[in-house]
C-alpha cells in the first residue's frame, strides 16, 4: 500500500543574509513526509532543522525550491492562502508554548477556530472537548500563568488540534519540560499518531528517536541519513 506524501519539500534552498555573511540554512533539501508518518527530525544546533520546520509549516518561504502540501505547490500562494493552510491543515506546537497570557486555556485552544469562522459557542464547545482529551477538563478557565509547563504544552496541543488538521508540527515540544511532563506530551503525540495524524517533531532529545517511525538526521542544511522503521 503506497502512502501518498502529505508534504513534499523539493530542492529547497534557504539562504539568510546577515550583513555581509550569507548563511545557507538549507541546501538542496528534498524530503517527502508520508501520510500517517511520525517523523522525528534530529540534528545539532544550527543544522537547519528549525528552518526546515518553518518552511514546512509555511511560516517562511524558501529562497528557492517548492513546498507541496497535499500535492499543491505553495510557492505562488498569497499571504491569505498561506494563512488558511496554516489554519486548516497544520497544527503548531512550540517549545515555549506561545499561549496568549490574557486568555484562558479554553480561549487559547479555540483561537484557530476564530480564524476559520466558527461561531463562539461552537468554538468553546470544541475547545472544551479538546482540553478534556488532553486531560485538562478541570482547567479550562485557568490562564497560562496558572498552569504548569506540561499543562501549558497540553493546552498548546489542544490548540493545534482545534481545526482537526492532518499534520501536527512540533518544535522541541519537550525542550522546556521536566521528564515527567515530557513523557505526558510524548504519550499524547503518540496517541495522535495512532489516531491517524501525521506528526513531525524537531528535537535534539535522543530519547525521542524511539518515538518516531521515521528519523531524519540533518547536518549543515542537508539530510545526513533517514531511518525508516516500518
Amino acid at each position: 500500500m503506497g502512502k501518498s506524501a502529505v508534504l513534499s519539500l523539493r530542492k529547497i534552498w534557504k539562504i539568510y543574509e546577515m550583513g555581509d555573511v550569507r548563511v545557507n540554512a538549507l541546501r538542496d533539501f528534498s524530503l517527502d513526509i508520508l501520510e500517517g508518518d511520525y517523523m522525528v527530525v534530529m540534528g545539532p544546533s544550527g543544522s537547519g532543522k528549525s528552518t526546515f520546520l518553518q518552511i514546512t509549516g509555511c511560516l517562511d518561504k524558501p529562497t528557492q525550491g517548492e513546498v507541496l502540501i497535499d500535492g499543491v505547490n505553495t510557492s505562488n500562494m498569497t499571504d491569505n492562502q498561506l494563512a488558511a493552510i496554516r489554519n486548516k491543515k497544520l497544527g503548531f506546537v512550540f517549545q515555549s508554548f506561545n499561549l496568549l497570557s490574557k486568555m484562558t486555556a479554553q480561549e487559547n485552544s479555540a483561537l484557530p477556530l476564530i480564524y476559520s469562522g466558527v461561531s463562539r459557542k461552537k468554538r468553546m464547545n470544541r475547545a472544551k472537548e479538546l482540553l478534556e482529551q488532553v486531560g485538562l477538563g478541570d482547567r479550562i478557565r485557568h490562564r497560562p500563568n496558572e498552569l504548569s509547563g506540561g499543562q501549558q504544552q497540553r493546552v498548546a496541543i489542544a490548540r493545534a488540534l482545534a481545526n482537526d488538521p492532518p499534520v501536527v508540527l512540533a518544535d522541541e515540544p519537550t525542550g522546556n519540560l521536566d521528564s515527567k511532563s515530557s513523557e505526558e506530551i510524548l504519550n499524547i503525540l503518540k496517541t495522535l499518531h495512532e489516531s491517524g495524524k501525521t506528526i513531525i517533531v524537531v528535537t535534539h532529545d535522543p530519547d525521542m528517536i524511539h518515538q518516531g517511525n521515521t528519523v531524519v538526521h540533518i547536518l549543515d542544511g542537508q539530510i545526513e541519513k533517514i531511518e525508516r522503521k516500518s
Binding site: D60, N80, R86, N87, N98, K102, Y115
Partner: protein, 409 residues
C-alpha cells in the same frame, strides 16, 4: 462583533494605558463641546439682548466731519433738528413712530434721597418705539409736549432709589440744573412708572426718567434747536430695509451730505456682532480641534507601542492562521474604540462643563447650548482621528512576518 469584544477585552487588560491614551481625546472633545456650547450660548444671549430693542428700530445720529487730511475730527452734534423729525414722520410711509431724543445726566432729589439719572427727553412715540410698558400711571402724551409740562415717567431702578417702597405716582422730584454759574431746581411730577425690563441694547429703561422733549429743550438743556438722536421704528420688520432708504432719502434731501448723519438699525448691529462672535467661535473651536489632533497623535504613539509589545502575540495569531486583514482590523478597531469611548466621555464631560459654566455665570443669564451638530462634529472628528492615526500602527502590525514575530522576545 467578535472583534469588538476582543478589542474591548484587550483595552480592559491595559486599563491605565487605555485611559491615558484616551485622555487627549477626552480633553479635546470636552473642550470642543464646552467651547462651542458656551460660544453659542453667548451669541444667543448677545443676540437676544440686541433683539430686545425690537427688530425694527432705527437710530439716527449726527455724523462727523474731518478726521482726515489734517483737519480736526468734529462731531456734528447740531446737524439734526426737530424739523428732521417732522420730515421723517411725514415723508416716510413705512414709519410707525419717530421721536427726538436728548439724553443727559442730572441729579435728582426726593425728600432726603438723592440719586443721579439719565433724563430722556422725548416725544410720545418713544414708548412705542422702545416697546415700554407701564406698571402704573400714564405715559407722556401730546398734551404734555404742547404744554411744556413738568411731568415724568420713572424707571424701576430710579424709583426704588428715590422712593423705596412708596408709590411714586403724584410725587414730585427735584432736578438740579446748572445754568451758567448758578444752580436751578426744577420740579418734575411723576405721572407714570415703567415695568422692569432690563437693558435693551444701549438703552436701559430701568434707569430712565422720561420727560417731554419740549420741557427739556426750553428749560433744562440748551439744545440750540438741535437734537442729539432721532429714534424711529418701522411698521414691521419686513419693511425695515425700505424704511432705512426712506430715512436716508429724507435726510439727504436736507443735508446733501451722507457723512453728516448715520442711520443704525438693529440688523446692522446684529450683523456686526454675529460676525465677531462667529470669528470668536471659530477661533476657540480651532484651538479645541488642535487638542483633538494632539490626542490623535497620542493614540498613534500608544498603538505603536502596543504593536511592538504584542509582536509575539501577532506572530502566534498569524501562525495559527490569522490573515493580514484580520490583524489589521484587530488593531484598527482597538484604536477606533479608544476614540469612540473617549468621544462619548468627552461629550458627557463637555456637557457637564457647559452646564457648570451656565450655573457659574448665571448672573449674566448665559444659556449654554449643546447642539446636536457640535456633538456630531466632535464625535465624528474623534472617531475619524482614531481611524486615521490607527491605520499606520495597524498596518505595521499586519505586515509582520509570522516567523519574525515569533522570534521576537
Amino acid at each position: 462583533m467578535e472583534l469588538f469584544m476582543e478589542s474591548l477585552r484587550s483595552l480592559y487588560a491595559n486599563k491605565l494605558r487605555t485611559f491615558l491614551s484616551m485622555l487627549g481625546i477626552i480633553i479635546g472633545v470636552t473642550a470642543m463641546i464646552a467651547v462651542v456650547s458656551i460660544g453659542q450660548g453667548a451669541t444667543a444671549s448677545i443676540t437676544e439682548r440686541i433683539s430686545s430693542l425690537g427688530s425694527n428700530v432705527f437710530m439716527i445720529s449726527p455724523g462727523y466731519s474731518g478726521g482726515s487730511s489734517g483737519r480736526a475730527y468734529v462731531n456734528l452734534s447740531d446737524v439734526l433738528t426737530k424739523k428732521d423729525v417732522e420730515n421723517i414722520k411725514m415723508l416716510c410711509p413705512n414709519i410707525k413712530g419717530v421721536s427726538p431724543l436728548i439724553q443727559q445726566r442730572f441729579s435728582l432729589k426726593y425728600g432726603t434721597n438723592n440719586t443721579s439719572s439719565q433724563i430722556y427727553a422725548i416725544y410720545p412715540d418713544f414708548f412705542q418705539i422702545l416697546n415700554l410698558d407701564l406698571e402704573s400711571g400714564r405715559k407722556i402724551n401730546q398734551e404734555d409736549i404742547d404744554d411744556y409740562a413738568k411731568v415724568g415717567v420713572i424707571g424701576k431702578d430710579i424709583a426704588n432709589d428715590l422712593f423705596g417702597t412708596e408709590n411714586p405716582l403724584g410725587k414730585t422730584v427735584y432736578m438740579t440744573v446748572s445754568v451758567g454759574n448758578t444752580n436751578k431746581t426744577i420740579p418734575i411730577q411723576i405721572v407714570g412708572a415703567l415695568v422692569q425690563t432690563g437693558s435693551k441694547l444701549i438703552y436701559n429703561p430701568d434707569k430712565m426718567l422720561i420727560i417731554p422733549f419740549t420741557t427739556a429743550e426750553g428749560r433744562i438743556v440748551n439744545t440750540r434747536g438741535s437734537v442729539s438722536t432721532i429714534l424711529a421704528s418701522a411698521i414691521s420688520p419686513e419693511v425695515s430695509e425700505r424704511v432705512y432708504l426712506e430715512i436716508d432719502q429724507v435726510l439727504y434731501m436736507r443735508l446733501h451730505d451722507s457723512t453728516k448723519y448715520s442711520i443704525t438699525s438693529q440688523d446692522s448691529i446684529l450683523g456686526a456682532v454675529s460676525e465677531v462672535t462667529g470669528i470668536m467661535n471659530l477661533f476657540l473651536g480651532s484651538i479645541a480641534a488642535i487638542s483633538l489632533l494632539v490626542g490623535g497623535i497620542g493614540i498613534m504613539n500608544i498603538m505603536l507601542v502596543s504593536v511592538s509589545e504584542r509582536t509575539r502575540e501577532i506572530g502566534i495569531k498569524k501562525a495559527l492562521g490569522a490573515t493580514r486583514k484580520r490583524i489589521l482590523m484587530e488593531f484598527l478597531i482597538e484604536s477606533v474604540m479608544i476614540t469612540f469611548i473617549a468621544g462619548l466621555l468627552g461629550i458627557l464631560l463637555g456637557t457637564a462643563l457647559s452646564k457648570m459654566v451656565e450655573i457659574a455665570a448665571s448672573a449674566y443669564a448665559l444659556k449654554t447650548q449643546v447642539t446636536w451638530d457640535s456633538v456630531i462634529i466632535a464625535f465624528g472628528t474623534a472617531s475619524l482621528i482614531g481611524l486615521f492615526f490607527g491605520i499606520y500602527p495597524a498596518s505595521k502590525a499586519s505586515k509582520l512576518s509570522p516567523l519574525e514575530a515569533l522570534r521576537y522576545e
